[in-house]
Amino acid sequence: MSGTRAAAVGGVVALAVLPLVPGLDSDFGRSLLTQMAIAAVFALSFNLLFGQTGLLSFGHAVYFGLGGYAAIHLMRAINAGLPLPIALVPVAGALGGLGAGAVFGVLTTRRAGTIFALISLSVGELVYAATFMLPGLFGGEEGITASRTRATVDFGVALDSQLHVYYVVVAWALFATLAMYGFTRTPAGRLCNAVRENPERAEFIGYSTRRVRFIAFAAAGLFAGLAGGLSAINYEIVAADAVSAQRSGTVLIMAYIGGAAYFLGPVLGAIVITWLQSGLSGYTSAWLLYLGIFFIVTILYAPAGLAGLVDRHRAIVRTRAFGGVLAAYALAAVPLAVVAWGVVLAVEMAYRVATQPELGTRMRVLWTAVDAASPWPWVFAVAAAAGGFAAFRATWPVVAAAWDRARGSARAVAR
C-alpha cells in the first residue's frame, strides 16, 4: 500500500514542479498542461459512464458545456461585483453539470446499449442547436466572455498569470480525481460495475438498474460540469463548441485510447490526445489523419487502450527475461520506424500537393529533403511502408518468443 501512496505523493510533487521545467515554462507550455488537466477531469467523468457503468454516450459534452455556461455567468456576476472568489467558480460548473445530468438523466437512462448511445447523440445535437436559439443565455455564435482577474475578493489567489491558473486548475483536478475515485469505491460505484457486467443479475438481487444508471449519469454530469467550469476560467470564454458533437467525440476517443477499463486510463488518454491536438498540429497539417489512424490501430490491436498495454507488462516487468522482451521490442522497432517514415513521407507530400501547392513541391519531412513532384520519393515511401511492414511482421515471432520466456519466468518466480 505504501508503494501506491509513495507514487501518489510523487505524482503530486511532479505536478507541482512540471510548469517550472524548462521547455514547459512558457505561457503556451503551461497552457498546454492546464488543458491536459481539464481534459483529464472531463475524460474521467466520461469514464464514470462508459468504463464504470457500461453506458456509451455520444453527447457527454452537453454537461461539460452547460456547466461551463453556468460558470461563466457566475464569473460575469463576480466581475460585476458579487463577492466570491473566482477560484470557487468551478462549483457553479459542477452544479450546472449536475442539474443538467439529473434533468436529462431522468429521460435517457431508461435504456442502455445502442439506444442510450443514440439518445445521447440526439440530446447533444438538440442542446447544440438550442445554444444558437437562445442568445440571451448562451451568447449565440460568439459565446459569453468574462474576466478571471476582475473580482472583489480573492483570498490571495490571483489568476492573472497562466502559472496561477495552472495551479488552481490542477488543485481542482486532483480534488475531482480523488472524489471520482472515492465514488468508485462506494457501494453505489460498485453497483455501477455490477450493472455494467450483468444488469439482469443486478435486478434479481434487488437493485434498480435504472436508478443506478441515473446516479452514474448525474455523477458524470457533475464532474463534467466541473471540468467545464475549469475551462471557463482558463479561456474566459464559453461558446457553442463547448457542447458540440466534436467535443463529445474527442472525450470518447480520450477515454478509449487511454484505456476505459482502468481508472487512470482516461487521464493517460487525455494527455496524449491533448498533446496530439495542440502540439502536433503545429508540425503537420495531417495531424487529424494521424489521430484517426492511431485511434483505429488502437481499436484493432489494443482494445484495452494504452493503460491496458502498460498493465499487460506489469506481470513480466520484474522478471529477468524482461530484458529479452525489451530487446525484441528494439528489434521490432526498427522496421516499424521504417514503415512510419514511409507513411509519414507519403502523407505529408500528399497534403502539401493537395492543400498548399503554392509553397512548392520541395519540402522537408522528418529530416529528409524531398521534392514531391518527382516520382522517386513516392516510390521510396511506398517501398519503405510495404517492405518495412513485411520486415515488421517477420519480427513478430521473435517478440512472441521473448514474451513466452518472460511469462514462463514470471510464473517460476510466482511459485
Binding site: 488543458q35 449565440g140 460568439e142 459565446g143 466572455t145 482577474t149 470564454i237 461558446a239 503545429g282
Partner: protein, 409 residues
C-alpha cells in the same frame, strides 16, 4: 531561374518558420479558418497577406526587420481562436491578423484587450481585415483593434443609397445568417430602407443557422411566395453559394443585393442568370479601374486558377498603411505603430483612405457593382464580370460612432 529562387525562398521561409524565426523579425499571426466550411476564404486570404508581406520584405522590410507570417487554423471557432492566439503570442507574435467571422473577431478583440492589460510591455495589436460587425468600432471598440473593411452599417448605407434611386424596387426580402453579423445586416437594412424609401415594403426577415443549411430551396420558396423583387443578404462562403445555387435552380427572378456576391464559387453557381441581377458592395472589384492593378496581376501569375482569384484589396490597403505607420513611428513596436496608424491618411490608387482615430475604422471608397457581360476582366473564367453602378468616396462612408476607447498613456 526565378521560379527556383522563389521556391528556395519559400522553402527557406518554411524552414525558418519551423525552426523559429530570427529574433529581429516582426512576427505576425494569421488566425483564420484553414479547414472546414470557411477554408476557401481563409486560405485565399492567407495567400493574399503572405503576398503583400513578401513584397514588403523584398523591398527591404520595415525599420530593418523582416515580417514573418505565422498561420493558425481556428476553424471559425471562438474558443479555438483563443487557444491559437495564446500559442501565437507565445511564439512571439506581436500582431494578429484575422477576418473570417465576427464571432471570432469579438473573442479575439476581448482576449487581446485582456492580454495587453495583464502584460504591459508585451502588447499585441489586432488587425481585422474582414469582420464587419459594427460593434467592434462602436460599443465594443478597443484601442488595440484596427478594422480595414467597411463595417456592415457602412456597406448597407452605400447599398441602400443605390437602391433608393431604383424605383423598380418595391418588395424586399431579407435573409441572413443567425449571428451578430447577420442580425446587424438585417437591422441596418430595415432601418436605412425605412429612412430612404419608406414606400418599400419588407416582405420577409429571415435568419438561418450559420454554415449549417445544405439546401436553401425551402427559403427560396418562401422568397417567391412573398413576391419579393429584391433580396438583401449578408451571407458569405458556403451560405452565399448554396443560396444562389438554390435560387438559380428554382428559376427565382430577383435582384440579389449582397455583401459577398463575389465569394469564390458564387458567380459560377449563378452563371448567366446573375447578369444584371447579382449585385455586391465591396471596396474593389476587377473592373473598378480601367486597368488591372499591377499587384493583382502579379498575384494571378503566382497563384493561377479560379479558386485563387484575387479578392482582398483591403489587404493591400492594410499592409500599405501598416508599412507607412511603421515608417512614421520609426519602429515596429506595436504601441508606437498603433499610435502612428490612428488618424493616418494614405493615398491609394482608388482614392485617399483614412484610419479614423476615434474608433479605428478605415474610411475607403466603396463600390456597388452588378454582374455584367462584356466587361474587360471577368470573374472565375465565366465570361461575366463586375461593373460599377456607383462609387462612394471614402469620406462619405463615415457613420457616427458610440466608441469611447481608453488609450494607453
Amino acid at each position: 531561374m526565378h521560379a527556383a529562387n522563389r521556391t528556395l525562398f519559400g522553402l527557406g521561409f518554411a524552414i525558418a518558420c519551423l525552426a523559429g524565426p530570427a529574433a529581429a523579425d516582426v512576427k505576425i499571426a494569421f488566425i483564420d479558418p484553414l479547414s472546414g466550411g470557411g477554408a476557401s476564404t481563409g486560405i485565399l486570404a492567407q495567400k493574399t497577406h503572405q503576398f503583400y508581406i513578401d513584397a514588403i520584405n523584398a523591398a527591404g522590410g520595415l525599420n530593418g526587420e523582416k515580417l514573418v507570417l505565422m498561420s493558425y487554423d481556428n476553424k471559425v471557432n471562438p474558443q479555438e481562436s483563443l487557444i491559437q492566439l495564446k500559442r501565437a503570442i507565445d511564439e512571439g507574435a506581436r500582431y494578429v491578423v484575422q477576418g473570417n467571422g465576427s464571432a471570432v473577431a469579438l473573442a479575439i478583440a476581448d482576449a487581446v484587450q485582456k492580454h495587453n492589460e495583464r502584460n504591459p510591455g508585451k502588447e499585441v495589436v489586432y488587425l481585422n481585415y474582414a469582420a464587419v460587425d459594427p460593434a467592434l468600432t462602436n460599443e465594443k471598440c478597443t484601442f488595440w483593434h484596427f478594422r480595414f473593411d467597411a463595417d456592415a452599417d457602412m456597406k448597407m448605407a452605400a447599398m441602400t443609397d443605390v437602391i433608393a434611386k431604383d424605383r423598380k424596387v418595391q418588395k424586399v426580402y431579407l435573409i441572413n445568417q443567425d449571428y451578430s453579423f447577420g442580425k446587424a445586416v438585417a437591422a441596418a437594412a430595415a432601418k436605412m430602407l425605412a429612412e430612404k424609401r419608406p414606400d418599400i415594403k419588407i416582405v420577409g426577415d429571415e435568419l438561418h443557422p450559420l454554415q449549417k443549411v445544405n439546401d436553401f430551396s425551402p427559403y427560396v420558396a418562401k422568397i417567391k411566395a412573398a413576391g419579393a423583387d429584391t433580396v438583401i443578404t449578408g451571407n458569405w462562403s458556403n451560405d452565399m453559394v448554396l443560396l444562389i445555387k438554390a435560387g438559380k435552380d428554382a428559376g427565382l427572378k430577383v435582384d440579389w443585393e449582397t455583401y459577398y456576391g463575389g465569394s469564390p464559387g458564387a458567380v459560377t453557381a449563378i452563371g448567366e442568370a446573375g447578369v444584371d441581377t447579382l449585385k455586391q458592395v465591396s471596396e474593389w472589384h476587377r473592373n473598378a479601374t480601367p486597368e488591372l492593378d499591377a499587384s493583382v496581376a502579379t498575384f494571378a501569375k503566382k497563384y493561377p486558377g479560379k479558386e485563387n482569384e484575387y479578392a482582398y484589396w483591403r489587404a493591400k490597403t492594410m499592409w500599405e498603411m501598416f508599412a507607412a505607420a511603421s515608417k512614421k513611428a520609426g519602429s515596429n513596436d506595436p504601441v508606437k505603430v498603433a499610435r502612428a496608424m490612428e488618424g493616418m491618411k494614405l493615398p491609394t490608387s482608388l482614392g485617399e483612405v483614412e484610419m479614423r482615430a476615434d474608433n479605428h475604422q478605415i474610411l475607403q471608397p466603396l463600390y456597388v457593382s452588378t454582374l455584367a457581360k462584356g466587361v474587360k476582366y471577368d470573374s472565375e473564367d465565366s465570361g461575366l464580370g463586375w461593373k460599377t453602378d456607383a462609387k462612394v468616396e471614402a469620406k462619405s462612408t463615415a457613420l457616427p460612432t458610440t466608441c469611447k476607447m481608453e488609450r494607453p498613456k
